[in-house]
Structures are given as C-alpha cells and as structure tokens.
C-alpha cells in the first residue's frame, strides 16, 4: 500500500517536473508580453533530440558536453524565434502573435522531422539504469536527477527574479510596462531574455526526461499542452505558480493512472483544471492580466 503510494508519488513528481519546466516558460513569456507561446513544447523536443543526436547518433560529443551544447542551441533557437518572428510583428496585436507562435512550433517540428527523421531518440540515464529504494518504492535514479535539477533551477530563478537588478526590471515590466520604459528599462531586452529563459527551461526539461520517456520530433505538442495546463492551474502570471501547477498536474495524473485507470488520467487532470478555473479564474496562485509592452 505504502509502496504503491510512494511509487505513484515519485512518478507523479517526475512527470510533473517536466510540466513545471514548460509551464514556467509559459509564465515568464506571458508576464513580459501577455503572449501565450505555443512553441514552448518544441524546445523540450529540441533539448532531447539535439542531445541524442550529438551523443548517441553521431557520437560527436561526450554526454556532459552534448547536454549544455543542446541547451545552448535550443536557447539560441528561442532567441532567433523572438527576433525573427515575434519582434517584427510586435505591432500586429496579440491574436496574431499567438498564431505566429503556433506557426513557429509547426516550423521547428518540421525542420527536426526532415533533418533527424520520425523515429524515437534516446540516450542513457545520467547515472545508469540504477534504482533507489524509498519506502518500498523503486525510483529510477534519473527521477532524482529530474527532481534535484528542478529544485536547483527553481532556487536560481527565485534568486534571479528577487535579487538581481535585471530580474527586478523584468518583474517591473510585467507590472507596468509603461513605467518600466519611463525609468529607462529596455523592454525589448526583457522580452528577449524571457524567450531565452523559456527556451532554456524547456530544453533542460527535454534533456532530463528523455532517458525516461524517449523523445520524438512531435512530443512538443503534448508537452506544450500539459505545460500550458500547468500554467493555467498555477496562475498564468506567476512562474512559481506554474511550478506548483506542474507538480500537482503530474501527481493527479499518476494517482489517477495508478488507482483508477490510465485511460482516465488526462480526462481527470483536465476536469481538475476546469474545476479550479471555475472556482479561481486566476488559477491557484494567479493574478489578473496586465498591459502588454
């Protein structure tokens, strides 16, 4: 009994961690621009696919080098996406920008499909296929990598947004874009950094979970949706709300899958989100929308 519970908790948190990383990306970009970036899931795909390509497929780089290179490449893709697709269309209005992000996701997916193919990619777990026994549950060592990294990333993000001048400038821009411009903050740079951060977080998620879930050119669609759901659950304007939302969503899915039936897990997760949004339209930790830059 306890062993089952521990097992479902571990798998829920692991699965939730990836939703959390994607969800934080959604929240960071939404905060800076009110844009819902539907290309968010593609950066998870890029992180995993590029690492697999560099390490497993071609053997170009050792794993400890393939990982940072893949994350850096995905981050550059995020910045390029902002510079080439979003910034030039800035005046076009929110609906157009959101559609552009959908176009961007189709494009990224297409490029990877054509260049790397449709098959599944994988690379080995960072500490091998070992398991750790906790309360009778057997937890994959990679799950510990996922959760440990999530904790470190959350702490770093907190430090960045609370303690650094640029982090404070980003929060100020979310709270009042006009006042931010009037004190001399380059709100363009805030947007650029938001896209870079979001892409890096997504790619990191892809790198961490690929040894557990495998990856493919099209996994970004589902992960993007789940990450978006996590953000809605936690509150759109709050990266740490999205973090909590992701973990809750992962746990609900794992418990439904474990105690009820895995056929119902998505349905129940979305039912939960609808219920939360009906009771608290701003999400669990949300606040209302702000003006766009």
């Amino acid at each position: 009994m306890l062993a089952d519970f521990a097992q479902f908790t571990a798998s829920g948190l692991t699965r939730g961690a990836i939703y959390a990383l994607v969800g934080m990306g959604f929240a960071i970009i939404y905060n800076a621009s009110n844009i819902i970036n539907f290309a968010q899931g593609e950066f998870v795909m890029l992180g995993g696919m590029l690492t697999a390509f560099l390490f497993t497929t071609t053997g170009l780089l050792p794993i400890w080098l393939a990982v940072p290179v893949a994350i850096a490449a995905a981050t550059i893709a995020g910045v390029a996406f902002y510079r080439l697709a979003i910034e030039p269309a800035q005046r076009a209005g929110l609906a157009t920008l959101i559609i552009i992000t959908i176009g961007g996701s189709v494009l990224l997916r297409g490029i990877v499909e054509v260049t790397l193919g449709k098959r599944e990619f994988v690379f080995p777990a960072f500490s091998g296929e070992s398991n750790v026994q906790v309360l009778g549950a057997s937890i994959a060592s990679q799950s510990l990598w996922v959760l440990g990294t999530l904790a470190i990333v959350a702490a770093l993000l907190w430090w960045f947004f609370e303690k650094t001048l640029f982090g404070k400038a980003m929060r100020a821009t979310a709270q009042s874009p006009l006042a931010a411009q009037l004190v001399g903050i380059e709100t363009r740079h805030v947007l650029l950094v938001s896209f870079a951060l979001a892409a890096a977080l997504g790619a990191l998620g892809g790198v961490l979970t690929t040894p557990i879930t495998l990856t493919r050119y099209d996994i970004g669609i589902m992960l993007g949706l789940k990450g978006f759901a996590a953000t809605m659950l936690g509150g759109l304007g709050n990266p740490f709300g999205a973090l909590a939302g992701g973990l809750v969503l992962g746990l609900v899915e794992a418990f439904t899958g474990g105690y009820v039936s895995s056929g119902y897990q998505d349905a129940i997760a979305f039912l939960l989100i609808l219920t939360v949004l009906m009771v608290r339209p701003g999400g669990l930790f949300g606040r209302v929308a702000m003006d766009r830059v």
């Binding site: 001048l165 404070k168 400038a169 929060r171 100020a172 709270q175 009042s176 006009l178 006042a179 931010a180 411009q181 009037l182 004190v183 001399g184 903050i185 380059e186």
Partner: protein, 238 residues
Amino acid sequence: MSAVPLLQVQDLSSSYGRIRVLSTVSLEIGRGELVALVGSNGAGKTTLLRCLSGVQPIDGGTIRFGGHDINHLRASERVALGIAQVPEGRLVFPQLTIEDNLLLGGYGRNRATVSAGFTRAYAMFPILAERRRQLAGTLSGGQQQMLALGRALMSAPKLLLLDEPSMGLAPVVVERIFDIIDELRASGTTILLVEQNANAALALADRGYVIETGRIVLAGDGLDLLEDRRVQEAYLGV
C-alpha cells in the same frame, strides 16, 4: 550658460491611429525654469509628455534637448540623457518594495548616483525610508505619489516631467506635493508641470502654456496667465 533652452519643442504633432491629438505644438523650457502646462480633460497634455519621453510616436516636428535633436532616441536613451517622468496615475510597481521601486528609478545609473538618490529620496520622504521593505501597492495614494516622484529623481534628471501630481489627493497632501515641487525648483531642477489644477500650478510656475484640443492657445508668465480673463473663465471657474 548658453542661451539654448534645455527643451525646445517645435511644431510637434502626434496621433492615436488616425485621430490627431497634438497639432503643431511648440514650447520651450529654459534651464532651471518651472513651466506649467494647463488644459482641460483630453487636451493632449499626457500625450505631449509621452512624446517627450519617447513612448508615443510623433507625426512631425522636432524635440531638442540641450540643443540636440532627440526625435530618433528611444525612451531609455532619453532617460540616460536626463529626462525623467512621473506618469499620470503614478504607476508605481505595486508588487515590488519601495526600495526596489527606487532602485529601478536609477536603472542604468552608476552606483554613486543611485546611492545619492536613495539618500535624497529618503531625506525628502521619511515615510518611504520607514516603509522601504513594504510593497508599493500597500501605500496610500499620496505616499505612492511621493514614491513616483522619488523614483523619477533617482536618475538625477536634468528635466523632470510631472503629469498631474496632485490628482486624486487630499488637500493637505496636494499642498505638500506643491511644496516639494517648489523645493526642487529651488535646488535647480528644470520642471514641466502638467496640471488640471491650473490655479496652483500657474501660481507656482515661472511661465505657463495653455493647451486646448491639441494646440497651444496661450503662453506667458505664470501670474499673467492667472490674471488672464480667458484663462479665468475656462480653467479657474471665475
């Protein structure tokens, strides 16, 4: 110093979409002057300040600061040159502490300027020092206005643009704000003061401009404007 005014605006026009809200506005502010810009609701006062700060596109005309054309400069570059604005409605950052609001007022300035700014802001507004760790959103309207003023002063501006600093405040607080504006002028800061409270603004100002539906219709010394019959009828309810 030279005879070049600190700010020279020539034939400035600006629109929202196809609606023109400023038409060939010209005005000048000399170094150390306190100039009032008065006019009724929707006359275009805020739009003019937005143009000066570089957050509102202009259709034509030129803005010169210290003799140099700044039309092409971005908002952040104008702040760097020394133009600071206290916007209409104050717009403090509600979820940041008072200290962080002030800190961001000095964004892009060197350490010495920022630390001098803190000393000055806290000396001018002791209440802000007392509550430095509180979120700005928890302050009263008057305190938020002081914070917005302190934030703008953090960049040690050469020109301070004030958009209706007395709006929505209790009379005692309004008096305090006008006293502070007077002190700032005495300390050498050049100020463009936008007000619907024409009486108080013109009484304090060296010179004034009256704006109506996007055009400057009168200009003169503050006291002369106060006594002008047209101004009295339109803005002072005499």
